[in-house]
């Protein structure tokens, strides 16, 4: 992929990632966010955080399946978009839902399991976003990779947060859970494969190496 092409694709991805936000802004200006606009914004920003997190986690498997290692930088773009929606989601909750009643925030975080896990997921995203620059990647080296494995935990917590919030219809969070299971399952499968290859008889390795 040429540099220019990659830049265009990045621009397009960011623009695409901001479409839901634009829809919310337009809806807010028109007074067209439904009967309970705070809930609409809260649900939309939450769901887009999860979708973008899943998209982020899909980059590595796609690189491998499509044989396109050049996709790697898009992982950061998607991850930062996910973080942006997570910030909006959290801000909606603190500013609009609880109108800056920090006592109520603390009580929720301590007492309501779905908020506890959601808040934990959000907190864990912060160091990932903070260390997403090229300079930080270089500075942290191997430790960067270890640190960024936190994203798996964040995704699981995010989906648990969604699941525990639902009253009776579990389908929407379960759809997200299935996608996440698939993405994590692939990684696990490849890891097992690689371990088997490394441990296995010499000819297997020779064969795969051609």
């Amino acid at each position: 992929m040429t540099r220019a092409r990659r830049r265009t694709l990045h621009g397009a991805l960011v623009a695409l990632g901001l479409v839901p936000l634009r829809a919310l802004a337009v809806g807010a200006l028109r007074g067209d966010l439904g009967a309970n606009p705070v809930e609409t914004v809260s649900h939309a920003t939450g769901e887009w955080t999860l979708r973008l997190l899943l998209a982020t986690l899909a980059v590595t498997p796609l690189r491998r399946i499509l044989g396109r290692p050049g996709l790697a930088p898009f992982r950061r773009t998607l991850g930062l978009l996910a973080f942006s929606y997570a910030c909006l989601h959290f801000a909606t909750y603190v500013a609009l839902d609880l109108t800056f009643d920090f006592g109520a925030v603390a009580e929720d975080v301590a007492k309501r399991p779905y908020i506890t896990v959601g808040f934990t997921a959000f907190c864990l995203l912060i160091p990932l976003a903070a260390t997403s620059t090229r300079a930080m990647v270089r500075r942290l080296g191997r430790r960067w990779v270890t640190l960024h494995r936190l994203v798996y935990i964040v995704a699981v917590l995010g989906i648990v947060h969604f699941l525990w919030l639902v009253k009776a219809d579990l389908r929407p969070p379960l759809v997200h859970a299935v996608v996440l299971a698939l993405l994590l399952g692939l990684r696990l499968w490849w890891r097992i494969e690689r371990a088997r290859e490394e441990r296995g008889p010499g000819f297997a390795r020779a064969e795969t190496r051609g």
């Binding site: 007074g31 439904g34 009967a35 309970n36 606009p37 705070v38 809930e39 609009l96 839902d97 609880l98 109108t99 109520a104 009580e107 929720d108 007492k111 309501r112 399991p113 779905y114 525990w164 919030l165 009253k167 009776a168 219809d169």
Partner: protein
Amino acid sequence: MPIRRPERPDAVALAEITDRELYLRRRDFLRGAALAAAGAAAGLACGAEAGDANVEARGEKLPNVVPGPREYATDEEPTSYRSATTYNNFYEFGTDKTDPSQSAGSLRPKPWSVAIEGEVAKPGTVPFEDLIRPHPLEERIYRLRCVEAWSMVIPWVGFPLGALLRRFEPTSRARYVAFETLFDPEQMPGQRRSVLDWPYREGLRMDEAMHPLAILAVGMYGAVLPNQNGAPLRLVVPWKYGFKSVKSIVKIRLQEEQPTTTWSDSAPDEYGFYANVNPDVDHPRWSQKRERRIGDIAKRETLYLNGYAEQVGSLYAGMDLRKLF
């Protein structure tokens, strides 16, 4: 339908004082006024669209509606008709709030009949028209508090549930009333999935059911109930969480034992039989201390028994409401 004199000569149904259009769309109107000023042409186009949606949904106006007892009415501003008819929990038509208004068109509220059975001297299946004919229709402006921590103010049109039950002569063994919603996946597409154990069932203790605050509603905002709000007949018990107010009722059964109810059956630790609005008893997953009145951004304090403690508080004297939630 007999015409009942208003209790006080100056008591006039809200729907009769204000111009209907404005009454139903005050907020839309105010918001719209700013828009309209921006440009007549554009304003007309937008206004017509919003207006049509309201007219369509409003339905047939109910005649001879008199105001209900003054001490029961709230003077709080009713929720916009649009919000009250597009933000609904009626899982029989889908689990999103906007699903019922979009898919309740498949419900056929006419013809309709209701079976009254169990511990009554005169059981039977009664056509809807015969069921409501003897009852003067009253407007009851009530707060509605959903278990999900949002609330509305709805001008219902209906009559006391107790008056209806008395007609069928409950026996001495009648201690509870059980209600059932229609079960017909063809009319109610949400029932094709087992999100809940259909048909939807609810119940009241006999003294709750006989309390004059509990009504059966056939309309709201002066007109026939829209399908998504539980046409043609629904319960309204304003001091309990909204899910107690069962919609599109086809069966009323009086019985000696406490009936099983849908939500309590689905999650017994989260939803009790009583489901009285109570800011001191949290839902296990969220606080019930505050609620968002639809139309507001900031939340307000939730009131014990949804502000009807003076009327119905005595029904629960001596009960441990943390256990019997």
